[in-house]
Symmetry: C2
Subunit: 147 residues, 2 copies
DNA sequence: TGATATTTAATCGTGCACGATTTAAATTAA
DNA sequence: TTAATTTAAATCGTGCACGATTAAATATCA
């Protein structure tokens, strides 16, 4: 059998995704430091700003994360005074995450973050939209393949 | 001033990157379990298979990681018997990472991993190459913007 | 040369991710 | 209605990432 040529990093789609994720983090870090959030915490807040009173599982299904990751993260947001956690009366297994006034107010403080990040991308908006769409399709294919 | 419409996750390029990264990890996990590596460890091995005896800094510059991440990771690979670490004679500040026979042999054991991952992507090769190139461009723009 | 600055790894603390397990509540089946 | 199963959140252990700091070696310069 023929030898495969040695693989290089830049041939790996996964590495371009992995390293771009880190690069995004480095852009977000100083911006989110201003509002006192980490990047995963920011994502949880984005999900809650869109719809309040979601369950841990509901938030997780949007972020592709589970309670083992979310529970400690959400507890930190609770300690920060941005939300409260309450058991669902209808189904006591579920915990509903509820924004505080402070948590809602943070949306305005963080309103400029997306524009700053867009700026750093150095891409035209339509290129960016196209790339987002392609990646979402890829992600869905990968998630499906992993069952 | 006009209110901005509430942001949704799927409008965020960063989230498509972030969640696709996780999805890749879920694909890689069972494949890399077979060869006893984590995904970041696999990347270090890819870098070393391409060129042996690199310094920690050299490896880091390719992976966009620093010694605070790499040193413990590389030590785990050393414990696993895949490499050794030795101080550079010329410059004692530097540590050279050297593959063992076992470390080199692992390249063959992991040879099928990229094909399996490609399969899971459900994309044509030229689409994948194009996406990789666009992400690499984006990453470089972000890294530049972050200084 | 000798003092200062820079560079390289390593260390430490915090916060994700995630597999595996546990606990409690709700659902389904017997 | 009780027993078995499923579901939701939480807990625990391990391994990244990364900011901040430290220690040692090298480079620069007065």
């Amino acid at each position: 059998m023929a030898e495969k040529p040695t693989l290089t990093l830049d041939q790996l789609l996964c590495f371009s995704v992995y390293s771009t994720g880190h690069a995004f983090n480095r852009i977000y870090k100083p911006l989110l430091d201003e509002v006192g959030l980490t990047y995963p915490q920011y994502l949880v807040m984005v999900v809650l700003w869109q719809e309040d009173r979601q369950t841990v599982r509901g938030i997780g299904s949007k972020l592709f994360l589970e309670s083992n990751t979310l529970t400690p993260l959400i507890k930190r947001l609770e300690v920060a005074g941005l939300l409260t956690r309450e058991r669902d009366r209808e189904d006591e297994r579920q915990v509903r995450v509820v924004l505080t006034e402070q948590g809602r107010a943070l949306q305005q403080k963080a309103a400029d973050v997306p524009d700053c990040v867009f700026e750093a991308c150095g891409m035209k908006l339509d290129e960016l939209v196209d790339l987002t769409r392609k990646l979402t399709t890829l992600r869905n294919a990968l998630e499906k393949s992993a069952q």
